[in-house]
């Protein structure tokens, strides 16, 4: 088991004839993901690197039975690509694209059906180690296991997973939810999913400054919806107020959204917050009462 993605997932790549799309489609396939083909309008019928190319997602889904899509489409066209996938009945839409206008995502999220899960945008995707990779994560740092991970940051995730793997702690599923202000899937969604997942024993939440996603997650735990142990890390603790730090989401303003407030929220529900990514393995080991190998 796992959440959202597993070895049975049939994956499409939207924008497969683009440089990044093709590169990552190939890497996903190499990881073992069932990449059934891709979509590039006007290039239907072609083949690239043995991937079938379709004109529309609707057509691709009808011919391949795909249930998942990974979007590598330039920002001005990405909202259209997400809506196309939703309209075609794809249940899991992972949008890698960085730089989508916030108003496009407001529109997308207001009309997309509840039954459709969007991950991202501006995210590294999702991986169920040993089963499937749908995104741009470097597969080799992940290892199969029983710890779930949810993160607003891509590279910070790799950093933390690398530490976990080196410490012998494998992962059930890792979800990079993305760093934009408006994203499809938030911490609370993933926590609920991990709570239901038989293959997950504990969850690492990697947050950062800005927004109230971490506070919402703490609130879910407070309301007893999460029984499994959770440990957290908050990036950007040294960021000065009012400065935008790359992620559109990571801007500190007001009292909500500061690293301090987020750490306090987690600590108030007994979720240990790591000082450094390097401390996460030991916190997980303690939470799971693992042998003191780390």
């Amino acid at each position: 088991m796992s959440i959202y993605l597993n070895k049975k997932s049939i994956v499409l790549v939207q924008g497969i004839t683009g440089r990044e799309g093709l590169y990552h489609a190939t890497r996903m396939r190499a990881y073992g993901t069932n990449v059934a083909g891709g979509v590039t309008p006007g290039k239907g019928g072609q083949t690239v690197e043995h991937f079938s190319v379709f004109d529309t997602v609707s057509d691709a889904r009808a011919r391949t039975g795909a249930d998942t899509t990974v979007i590598f489409v330039p920002p001005p066209f990405a909202a259209d690509a997400i809506l196309e996938a939703a309209d075609a009945g794809i249940g899991l839409i992972i949008c890698i694209t960085e730089g989508i206008p916030v108003h496009d995502m407001l529109k997308v999220m207001s009309v997309i059906p509840d039954s459709t899960r969007v991950i991202g945008p501006n995210c590294p995707g999702i991986i169920t180690p040993g089963e499937a990779l749908a995104g741009i994560m470097p597969g080799h740092v992940f290892s199969a296991g029983r710890v779930g991970l949810i993160s607003r940051s891509g590279t910070l995730t790799y950093e933390i997973v690398d530490q976990l793997t080196r410490a012998g702690i494998g992962q059930s599923t890792c979800v990079g939810i993305g760093g934009d202000p408006i994203i499809g899937t938030v911490f609370v969604d993933c926590l609920r999913a991990f709570e239901r997942d038989d293959a997950t024993d504990a969850v690492v939440v990697v947050g950062e400054i800005g927004g109230t996603d971490e506070e919402d997650a703490a609130d879910l735990i407070r309301r007893k919806h999460v029984s499994k142990p959770v440990v957290a890390f908050i990036g950007g603790r040294s960021a000065p107020e009012g400065k935008r730090m790359g992620h559109a989401g990571a801007i500190v303003s007001g009292s909500g959204g500061t690293a301090k407030a987020k750490i306090a929220a987690f600590e108030s529900v007994n979720v240990p917050v790591a000082d450094s990514p390097a401390d996460i393995p030991s916190l997980i080991a303690r939470a799971l009462k693992l042998p003191a190998r780390v």
Partner: protein, 378 residues
């Protein structure tokens, strides 16, 4: 992209939101000419993005063309909390009976635009929220539904907007939502939204922040960018598509991915150092981008050591290594004041390039942070 007051008011006026008559000036002479053409009691306001300009002396009054010389002289070039006022906005004074508050911003939690209104305007809304939570009305608009007049009526009722101006308020809110939507704003704020003594609503101030990701749809705003205060290095980085923020320390930092860069800043701080900057090369950076990143960070004379922290996903280690070698080859920086940590996609190829060029790398972020702090102190 945060706009100056005069730019925001121009957008307001185009959107049909009432604003006081006004003009912008860059010199005392221009200010005098403006007052000569429109002799009326006026307010002279420093055009800066930083808050609290009033308390800092950035708002003064003038009645005629002679009267404006002193305030214009005083404000033009004024340093307000580190930001220089390069322009002043001269606007005709209105007789204000009461001040309201009105804004629309993006609510991440509900994934909707949120309207915030209060009958207590003119002060910091966060202070109002803290002291008088009942005095603030909030309404999250379904973007699929858009703005309808009932929303304005409901917000007005809940915020305690006086009945006599509710119809005007509903109309202004509709126009503000249209502007928010059309311009792709992260924030549009009118504080205060003044009720004049003769019962009209008028936007006394204008704060507009536009989503940078949506700016490509608004080439007409390009001209305003040059008027905005900016750090020369931040400006240079922006042109290359790099996310660079200038800070006060001496440890230069380059990484890929905002989260990792922020984590790197945290690690440097934890190691007792002070970051000189935030620089995210983004996903999939090529060698030339990395080279430019090194050049930008090391162009800051305060920088004493450089820490490059790359965890490759979409970014490939070999490209980073190549860019770094090119930058060092240019002679701008010495490999002795450099710490690099490179892992993830194509890490082997990248390390091979580094080794071939005599650049040593570390294994972990915390180790890198420690070494970089030590180098800065050396």
């Amino acid at each position: 992209m945060r706009l100056l007051e005069y730019q925001g008011k121009e957008l307001f006026a185009e959107a049909g939101i009432p604003t006081p008559t006004g003009k912008v000036a860059q010199t005392v002479e221009e200010a005098v000419a403006i007052m000569r053409a429109n002799p009326a009691p006026s307010v002279v306001k420093a055009q800066v993005l930083i808050g609290g300009r009033g308390k800092a002396g950035g708002i003064k009054f003038a009645n005629d063309e002679r009267d404006v010389v002193e305030p214009a002289k005083a404000i033009l070039g004024m340093n307000i909390k580190g930001e220089i006022a390069k322009r002043i906005w001269l606007e005709q004074r209105v007789d204000i009976a009461k001040e309201l508050y009105l804004s629309i911003t993006v609510d991440r939690q509900s994934k909707r635009p949120i309207i915030i209104a209060s009958a207590m305007g003119g002060m910091d809304i966060e202070e109002v929220a803290a002291t008088h939570p009942d005095g603030i009305a909030k309404y999250r608009i379904d973007p699929a539904m858009g703005y309808w007049p009932f929303v304005g009526r409901r917000v007005a009722k809940e915020a305690g907007i006086p009945k006599e101006v509710t119809a005007q308020f509903v109309d202004i809110l509709g126009k503000l939502y249209k502007l928010f939507f059309d311009i792709g704003a992260m924030l549009v704020e009118i504080n205060p939204l003044a009720i004049t003594k003769d019962g009209r609503l008028i936007a006394s101030d204008a704060k507009v922040d536009i989503d940078d990701n949506g700016l490509f749809r608004h080439p007409e705003l390009e001209a305003w960018k040059t008027d905005l205060p900016s750090d020369p290095l931040e400006e240079r980085a922006r042109k290359t598509g790099l996310a660079y923020v200038h800070l006060d320390g001496d440890v230069g930092i380059i990484g890929n991915g905002a989260g990792l860069v922020m984590g790197t800043l945290d690690a440097v701080k934890a190691a007792g150092g002070e970051p000189a900057n935030f620089l995210d090369v983004g996903g999939g950076a090529k060698a030339d981008i990395v080279r430019e990143a090194v050049n930008i960070v090391t162009a800051d004379p305060k920088v004493k050591s450089l820490f490059i922290n790359i965890f490759g996903g979409i970014t490939r280690g070999d490209e980073v290594a190549k860019g770094l070698v090119e930058a060092l080859g240019g002679g701008g920086w010495s490999k002795d004041k450099l710490v690099i940590r490179l892992t993830g996609t194509n890490e082997k190829e990248g390390r091979a390039v580094l080794q071939a060029n005599g650049i040593k790398s570390v294994e972990t972020m915390n180790e890198g942070a420690k070494q970089a702090v030590a180098l800065a102190r050396a």
